[in-house]
Symmetry: C2
Subunit: 592 residues, 2 copies
């Protein structure tokens, strides 16, 4: 295709992008000038809470009429919970409140994870007064050398926007700037709130205009140009197109637009692991999970042999691509992203999918007839017949798949569980949560707390967690918080005596992959639950025992928090994990 | 005193200091040139382990003959354990091994705490191969945007030295540089170990010369000048001198030198909270804890009315000074620090106490006669007679004080416990561990694990932890690791239903200071212990019950891990905490 034309387009696009970004910023920042100064005031703290309320955050700080406090056992768990909350409550954000130094640093891993996985979380930090930040006394929680800005500096590596409130004149605009970037770019933001500003009164004026959380507009000329390029390619490809949805479809709020596209055009659609449930897995034109070499053979064949791939919101990480084993030539790929578009080798910065998709759908609708001809093998995973009672991974995952219901929120710990559920079709409206890129062990437990609270808020169904006996130990105390706030997840605990994924990556028999075996069924009561009343624990050793439990209506109703210890063989693992570990083990092996 | 003379001295001192630092560095770095290249090689991993062994680190990684692996439930707890280990094993260091991104960031709070409190901890991070760091694939545990150096950058805010191994030629020197600064400056160091260098062979040569862990030498002229200045002041002060020992006496390894000073000169000696046990609290010339306004009246009177204060290793933080309420005029103060000396208003950079102290002792010995005349009220804290059975703080602390034995390691959680034990005299050779400056809630539990392992190594007595029901929830899973590695601390759990210190600082009845009440006595068994065999739990509600337990020889022998839940009234607190919270609450109150 014409390179010069493209190059010009790129330059223009970059300029347009920046122009739009500024226009966008102004819509929020400029408000104060447009509206007559109001006499009505509000405290800085309440200003923040009002903005959060406008963003549909309904769980957070006590002493606010509509926002509830969810207290965690520690800050890392809290950051995981905020992340899980944001993933379930799409369009809203998660909020984490910590103290200076000791608190905020404990959350660093969780915040960096939200950055890595495109999850909007506001990290509010209560810091010393603006005066103390200048005079620098040797306060507790400081490094003892007067560097009051050290934590802020460190966090700049892991957030998309950050700020420190310094006075009442700029506070409102600063809060709005930080919050807007957090939502628009779907990544964490960091905001320092000094003790002496918390209760200071500021004008309510800016609150009259909600934050502009829409992505910036695309330049019409370039957008049109890109659409033409895409249509040309599709024609050249004999309309043999496959749509591949991935993480950012969900994270950057284009679920609706993408579903319009696939339903109106009828092109076959597949999902990368991080895109699982972006499109309903019961939709007749949905073919399942594509993950390079790890894909099931028929999926691999269909995706890699299509003449053209329309990749939406792609995140090409190792575990999301079968360790970089996409066998798709760039000539055959169109990539739509939140803030740019790539057609074959040409990138178009500033052309984001949110505004592009509806126009693309309108143009492609006409090709429905041909698209419908392309055959899509149904995505199913029948329960295998195994003539033994061992709870094997090959049997477990399809079996629990039958247990899932529409609107369930399924959280899978990185590793065994996240690979295990990949092959299982989810019911319509089910949500899948896992850290496939960041992969922080223990994340799923904290995330389950936030996810369950969000699910309760928006009337989703059950929250179901799959976690190993190794992983849950990192964040186990959050079980007590779940009971404290009254959410009722079902926790499937895979007890296979250790860090299975690590054994597969390296150290199959290494001592450091051993862990103490806990009395799992007495955990909930130790953490304050009352067995049979506020909590219920089970141990299952056989297929029959687990099946019986899954078929039990009382159990399935999930009217109290439930923990199911499943005894499984130490060295068994889901198919996908075995393959991935083999590929990944080779990459990470300890040789030059 | 003559300022010009001082200014010259300062300039010279700065230059000398840098010169000495370089000389010092060379003694380690230069080795390779002095010794003929050896043919014998060793892997990078084993090189590090050998260096650690030379530093007397005996608990660490499996697959090494003399170093044992202590696996933790999570990285924050591991960083606390490494800190506790280093505090007990003076002269050695703590070692923390984590993985890239997810692991290391979880430890950020612990590492920053070690920096703040002057504790030498090596943070070894297993990172992607040197090739991957250049090609930047989107690996799990990355931020997804190719910034492989983001974590390293963030950690630079919290460590005294840092490095990333890049090739086998520079590896050994880099390891030595990072380790030497860690030990000499008694603060954490950060070292990235890429997967492809772990097993690479490098020459053993440098291992023939142990690391130079001594602080740089002082310039003789300036040192002599400083000694004269000090002697003049002491004469002017009519030899009415009081010695005040603080944190860095312990952290910077001058415990021996300071004890020589106090025993040979007989000057009265007092300790700041962070200096508790730097000098034996049974020594007849030791008067107790000085903490500004919070001090007991007689201590305050003695210290603040002395004509001259010789302050050794001082850390003037809020909680270590009674919220900055020292009433001592700078004209009456001489400060000795690890890398500088301050006489009244004159500072002498590069004149460190390690080399200065023996010379000062020699000169002061002659004044012993006069020093002995200064009266020192005995530091005692009798158990009060209270005509009720409530376990009050006023009764609890002196009572457990009677339970302490020589060589016990006492770990006190920040807040209620750390303030509580302050007034209690410790037996000879007992070690006190608490985070009085950093103050991270939950630290004491992880620290107890490391402290107990170190205590076992060097043949100390029992490890005793005091922690509240709120604080233990942050890091509770480490109890399972204690049982896993077979250490047997006695854990006194103060159950007063919530975050007492926070209630005192703000929010006395705030919901966010409430916590779920756990079944404390079933925790150890839930975490894998066997009641009566590997662990034992108790609940005591009255003074009599607790006294009976403390007098029980089996209990006192501590031959298994023991947890004692003590039911205490919600709003009671130790004297020192009540005063401190009042002072501190005023400072932190939410107003401009």
């Amino acid at each position: 295709m014409p390179t010069d034309k493209t190059q010009i387009a790129q330059v223009v696009a970059s300029l347009e992008a920046e122009l739009n970004r500024l226009k966008h910023e102004i819509t929020t920042m400029g408000v104060a000038d447009q509206v007559p100064a109001a006499t009505e005031t509000i405290t800085v703290a309440d200003y923040i809470l009002e903005r959060l309320k406008q963003l549909n955050v309904t769980d957070y700080v006590e002493a606010h009429p509509t926002i509830q406090w969810a207290s965690n056992c520690n800050e890392l768990n809290a950051s995981y919970a905020a992340d899980g909350y944001a993933r379930v409550k799409e369009g809203s954000i998660g909020v984490l409140l910590t103290t200076f130094g000791v608190g905020e640093l404990s959350a660093a891993n969780g915040i960096a994870g939200s950055f890595s996985e495109h999850v909007p979380v506001l990290h509010l930090v209560g810091v010393p007064s603006t005066i103390q930040q200048k005079t620098k006394p040797m306060l507790h929680h400081t490094l003892g050398d007067g560097r009051f800005d050290a934590y802020h500096k460190a966090f700049q590596e892991f957030v998309i926007s950050h700020g420190s409130l310094t006075d009442k004149v700029t506070a409102a605009a600063e809060i709005d700037r930080v919050l807007t970037e957090c939502v628009v770019k779907a990544r964490p933001a960091y905001l320092m709130l000094p003790t002496d500003l918390v209760h200071v009164q500021i004008p309510k004026t800016r609150l009259l205009t909600p934050l502009n959380t829409e992505p910036p507009a695309n330049n019409a000329d370039i957008e049109g140009f890109v659409l033409d390029e895409i249509m040309n390619l599709i024609e050249k490809a004999d309309r043999d197109v496959v749509i591949l949805v991935d993480a950012c479809t969900i994270r950057h709020g284009v679920r609706k637009e993408v579903n319009e596209l696939v339903h109106k055009t009828k092109f076959p659609v597949y999902a990368a692991p991080m895109g699982k449930t972006a499109v309903s897995e019961t939709y007749e034109r949905y073919g399942g999970i594509y993950v390079g070499t790890i894909s099931s053979p028929e999926v691999k064949e269909k995706v890699e042999n299509a003449n053209l791939i329309l990749a939406i919101g792609g995140v090409k990480s190792d575990f999301n691509t079968g360790n970089f084993t996409y066998h798709i030539d760039t000539h055959r790929v169109i990539e739509l992203h939140s803030d740019n578009t790539v057609v074959q080798f040409a990138s178009f910065p500033g052309i984001g999918m949110k505004h592009l998709l509806p126009k693309l759908t309108a143009r492609l609708e006409t090709l429905k007839g041909d698209a419908q001809q392309i055959e899509v093998p149904r995505f199913t995973h029948p329960v295998p017949q195994e003539d033994n009672e061992t709870i094997s991974h090959s049997w477990l995952w399809p079996r629990v798949g039958q247990f899932f219901k529409p609107g369930d929120v399924v959280v899978a710990e990185t590793g065994t569980s996240s690979f295990g559920v990949l092959d299982v079709p989810f019911p319509d409206g089910a949500i899948f949560i896992s850290q496939i890129l960041w992969g922080s062990i223990g994340y799923s437990v904290g995330s389950t707390l936030g996810a369950a609270i969000a699910a309760r808020d928006i009337g989703l169904n059950r929250t179901i967690l799959f976690v190993g006996d190794g992983s849950i130990q990192l964040t186990v105390q959050e079980l007590s918080v779940m009971m404290h706030v009254g959410v009722k997840p079902i926790i499937f605990l895979l007890n296979n005596s250790g860090y299975t994924i690590e054994r597969y990556l390296h150290g199959k028999h290494a001592k450091y992959n051993d862990i103490t075996n806990w009395k799992w069924t007495s955990l909930l009561t130790a953490f304050g639950g009352t067995e049979g009343e506020t909590c219920q624990s089970y141990t299952v050793k056989t297929k029959s025992e687990l099946s019986k439990l899954l078929d039990d209506e009382t159990f399935a109703r999930a009217d109290k928090i439930q923990l199911v210890e499943m005894l499984m063989p130490m060295h068994d693992a889901p198919r996908a994990l075995r393959v991935q570990a083999e590929l990944s083990g080779l990459t990470n092996k300890y040789t030059a």
